[in-house]
């Protein structure tokens, strides 16, 4: 079997595994959607009636098969809480979370790469030490806390950014961007710390290799050695880290959305879990899982593109 076919099979199996896991997990934990909808005063008959309507009275396996069959046709059912199609609910939240995660990704890569290079270049000197202290903080501080600090400083004290008033992209891209900058920065900070450290180490390792000596013997400046010869080799492992961390970024954005009251997946997921809104939870989890898996696939492709040795096989 060729590489891509093999990848697709594992991809499919991973998605299936995630789906089964969420499906069972949410049914094992206590809580009843009918009860959640009707409130604690509801009578047993009312509950039974609603359960029949929702289909939650049927055996688990039947429910699962039913759901899976529909999901394959992109029909994730109707939200119990909002009485709207799950897909529609999710799609309406996509711009917020996606733009947040992407902006955080862009910020982290654009800051981390130069910082990592700077740290490697000034190995053992002032900048290296400063950056190292900075990354320690970045790693130690949880992003939700960083978010709160950012709100306090830039939102409430300096009033540079609007806090707690999300403007949709369709309305005003500039205002939308302004409303997600702070959370994106909060999300990006730990990522920056990870990437900087990783890039610094790989670059320092690379600088000791023979090919760097060859490059020097050609009379190249340290600049072009670092930016062309070493960076291309050092980016390879960094891209993997960035890709693996994208899942973390999505998870982080679920939390940070709460801090900044952004109407993204985070708030939707938390409402859905609180209400035992199974169709919505499942739809969301499936979507997030698929996104992460696809990102990893893209990382893999770019890895193959960057490393000529892998490209040939």
């Amino acid at each position: 079997m060729n590489y891509y076919a093999r990848r697709l099979v594992t991809l499919f199996l991973t998605v299936l595994f995630v789906v089964v896991l969420t499906f069972t997990a949410f049914r094992i934990i206590p809580g009843n959607p009918a009860l959640a909808i009707l409130g604690t005063e509801a009578s047993n008959e009312q509950i039974a009636l609603l359960e029949a309507k929702l289909g939650t009275d049927r055996p688990l396996l039947v429910q699962f098969g039913h759901w899976l069959g529909n999901a394959a046709l992109l029909d994730f059912g109707e939200s119990l809480r909002f009485s709207e199609p799950v897909l529609k609910l999710i799609v309406s939240r996509v711009p917020v979370t996606l733009s947040l995660a992407l902006l955080a990704l862009v910020i982290s890569v654009c800051t981390a790469v130069p910082l990592g290079i700077l740290a490697a270049k000034s190995h053992g000197k002032k900048w290296d030490a400063l950056i190292s202290i900075g990354t320690q903080f970045g790693l130690a501080i949880p992003s939700f806390w960083m978010g709160i600090i950012l709100i306090l400083v830039f939102g409430l004290t300096l009033r540079w950014f609007s806090v707690s008033s999300y403007v949709p992209w369709s309305e005003s891209p500039i205002l939308a961007l302004k409303s997600i900058v702070l959370p994106a920065v909060a999300l990006a900070i730990p990522q920056i710390a990870v990437i900087v450290r990783y890039l610094r180490t790989t670059m320092l390792e690379q600088l000791n290799l023979d090919y760097v000596r060859t490059a020097r013997s050609k009379g190249l400046s340290e600049r072009s050695i670092q930016y062309i010869h070493v960076l291309k080799n050092a980016l390879l492992p960094v891209i993997t880290i960035v890709g693996i961390n994208f899942g973390e970024l999505l998870a982080g954005s679920l939390v940070i959305e709460q801090v900044f009251t952004l109407p993204g997946f985070g708030s939707l997921l938390i409402t859905a879990i609180g209400n035992r809104d199974y169709p919505l939870v499942q739809g969301l989890v499936l979507l997030i899982a698929v996104t992460v898996i696809i990102i990893n696939f893209i990382v893999d492709l770019s890895y193959r593109w960057l490393d000529p040795k892998i490209r040939l096989k």
């Binding site: 290799l209 023979d210 060859t214 020097r216 009379g219």
Partner: protein, 370 residues
């Protein structure tokens, strides 16, 4: 340095060079008072066992010493004409970079690790041309194809877009040579250019280097621990031991009239047709580590002629013939006369047979081959 006053212009002149490890309390010298020169169009061979400082010496000629080392005395002059000789040991990094790859170029030992695996061969060959000669991409690519032809690489056009891992070791070493000669440097330093390759490929690589020398008049410093290989290529040979030059002379001097016990030991360890079937002689012991080096002759612990004075004082490099110098008390004190007798005897016999055994007396191979 009396013997080195050749008429041809010296392109490289190293005087009393001392390279030390940095930041130690005791001063450990990796290269200890080395003087060498290379004339225009000449090929100088440097031989010596592993760890005696050949690579460090060669890196110093490009200002590429490892971070842990520094030049602590002596001079390195480079210049194709006398009036434009530059002191490489004094140059700033920026000035050195103009010389590297342009004037002095280097071929390294391991072609497998010396190329960058994520850049195309074409990029790596054209880089120097664009930097030093200001070629455009197209001009550089055209020149690279020429260079590939010159070093005997097949399908040069295709090669431009290929990556190092697609090539064999021999091809990579040809690429390394192409990179080194790209800007037509005056001096090419080859540090064990064939050690990592198998024998047939070795011969091919040497042939390429010989062609370059003959066509372009490039001066070459060829470093190896293989005297046989050096003999094939070089005009002059410097024998290095534990950071010092112990004997220097023409190929004939070294092979027919070796004086230093270490040189003789090296010669006896070459497998040659006349030694066929006999046990190969090898010098017992190993090169002393940096901290084991003494005030006296560093070869003393392994030398069968070691005398009292050898352990106390360092023998000076002294002339023993025209352009032939050696540093050994044996030769200076009593051996000069003895050696001269031997030389005349050799010549009188006219056998052409190399008689290293005369010096080594009845020891080792000497006894075995009788």
């Amino acid at each position: 340095m009396v013997g080195n006053q050749v008429e041809r212009q010296k392109i490289l002149d190293i005087r009393n060079l001392r390279i030390e490890l940095k930041g130690r309390r005791e001063r450990l010298a990796v290269v200890d008072g080395v003087s060498l020169s290379v004339s225009q169009g000449e090929t100088l061979g440097i031989v010596g066992e592993s760890g005696c400082g050949k690579s460090v010496l060669s890196l110093s000629m490009l200002g590429l010493l490892p971070k842990a080392m520094e030049i602590n005395g002596g001079e390195i002059w480079y210049g194709e004409r006398e009036d434009e000789a530059q002191p490489l040991h004094l140059l700033k990094p920026k000035e050195l970079r103009k010389i590297r790859g342009r004037e002095v170029a280097m071929v390294f030992q391991d072609p497998m690790s010396s190329l960058n695996n994520s850049l195309t061969i074409g990029y790596q060959v054209t880089e120097g041309l664009r930097l030093h000669l200001g070629y455009s991409r197209q001009e550089a690519a055209a020149q690279a194809i020429e260079l590939f032809r010159k070093v005997g690489l097949a399908r040069p056009e295709k090669l431009l877009k290929e990556y190092p891992h697609q090539l064999s070791g021999g091809m990579r070493q040809r690429v390394m040579i192409a990179i080194a000669i790209a800007c037509n440097p005056g001096l090419l330093i080859a540090d064990e250019p064939t050690t990592a390759l198998d024998v047939t490929i070795q011969a091919q690589i040497l042939e390429v280097m010989r062609q370059i020398r003959d066509q372009d008049g490039t001066s070459i410093v060829l470093i190896s621990h293989d005297l046989g290989l050096i003999a094939e290529m070089c005009d002059r040979i410097a024998v290095m031991y534990a950071g010092r030059i112990v004997e220097e002379g023409s190929v004939a001097d070294i092979f027919d009239r070796p004086r230093h016990p270490y040189t003789i030991g090296l010669l006896n360890s070459i497998p040659s047709p006349s030694h066929k079937g006999h046990r190969l002689h090898s010098i017992p012991g190993a090169v002393p580590a940096l901290h084991e080096r003494s005030v006296g002759c560093n070869f003393a612990p392994r030398c069968q002629y070691a005398m009292e004075c050898c352990r106390i004082e360092q023998p000076k490099l002294s002339p023993v013939g025209f352009g032939h110098t050696t540093s050994c008390f044996l030769v200076v004190e009593e051996g000069v006369r003895k050696g001269d007798n031997r030389n005349t005897a050799d010549r009188a016999e006219g056998t052409g047979e190399v008689l290293y055994e005369t010096s080594v007396a009845a020891e080792g191979t000497g006894a075995a081959s009788r």
